[in-house]
Assembly symmetry: C2
Homo-oligomer: 183 residues x 2
Amino acid sequence: MRVPVELVKSYRLLNHGPVTLISAASGGRENVMAAAWVMPLDFDPPRLAAVIAHGTYTRELVDASGEAVVCIPVRAQVELVKRVGSISGRAFDKLSEYGIATSPASVVKAPLIDGCAAWLECRVVREPHSEEAYDLFILEVAAAWANDAVYRDGRWSFPDDSWRTLHHVAGGGFFVTGDPVAG
Amino acid sequence: MRVPVELVKSYRLLNHGPVTLISAASGGRENVMAAAWVMPLDFDPPRLAAVIAHGTYTRELVDASGEAVVCIPVRAQVELVKRVGSISGRAFDKLSEYGIATSPASVVKAPLIDGCAAWLECRVVREPHSEEAYDLFILEVAAAWANDAVYRDGRWSFPDDSWRTLHHVAGGGFFVTGDPVAG
């Protein structure tokens, strides 16, 4: 079940460095891409930094709408992550062609990808120089959600391997999030 | 043994989102802090983005020198990571007081923390607005090294749990990097 996460604690969803899916929508079009270069930037206001490369269709939709959703996929979705990470959505509707189920977000138009561990609905804090020079976007979290199958009371708890979050190394190679360090 | 890593592939050391130790040196003073908010930013030139909070002693040394080393610690060093992450080095020489062994870097003055999995010697690409507004630094990798006990031929290979890299969740809680996803 999707449950709300307090905004000032939403960095915890991303703090361990998992790979993400970034969705965007504008003018009735929507898309999703895989993105590993995403990290928290501040607690309050809750902000993220994300690299969204120029030339991508998602970039075009983020530029046009000023919004995005950062979704955190799990082990069971690794094929989906690879698939959406290896083709452009410009001439190919990834969401419908791949049958990717989505749900409406609460405050942005970009969709939530079903089955993920968590979702961060974001608005772009415009920084034209960083966006142009580095493809680096500042995103402010406007709403945050976690899947209570895997995140409860501010803590990750992976019920089994299929629910573990993913870490991208290179070229479609991933690690799952491992065990907590005791102590 | 410390072996060089090709600069354009150095993002692979950081791509899976591990926690880091950032060391800095200036005018004969040196320090190290824990930093989870570090990510690759570009392949070529090889660049990172890192949050280095204002008011920290490391920030003062990075500002003064324009250099830093991003070190990637392993499970066996988790107490060191917690320790250097919970006290300021301004009035307390963490490296000597905690007996943290270091080695000289090759192109910057900041030290390499011994026992880590990897080290990225960096120069600051000055971006005054990002640094001031977000504590966000752009770092260009000038030299990269991996410990061949754990990273060889461009790939991570953890010989045992003590060599796994770490992912910070919150409040001194960490996951280790888990197993590779097959396929």
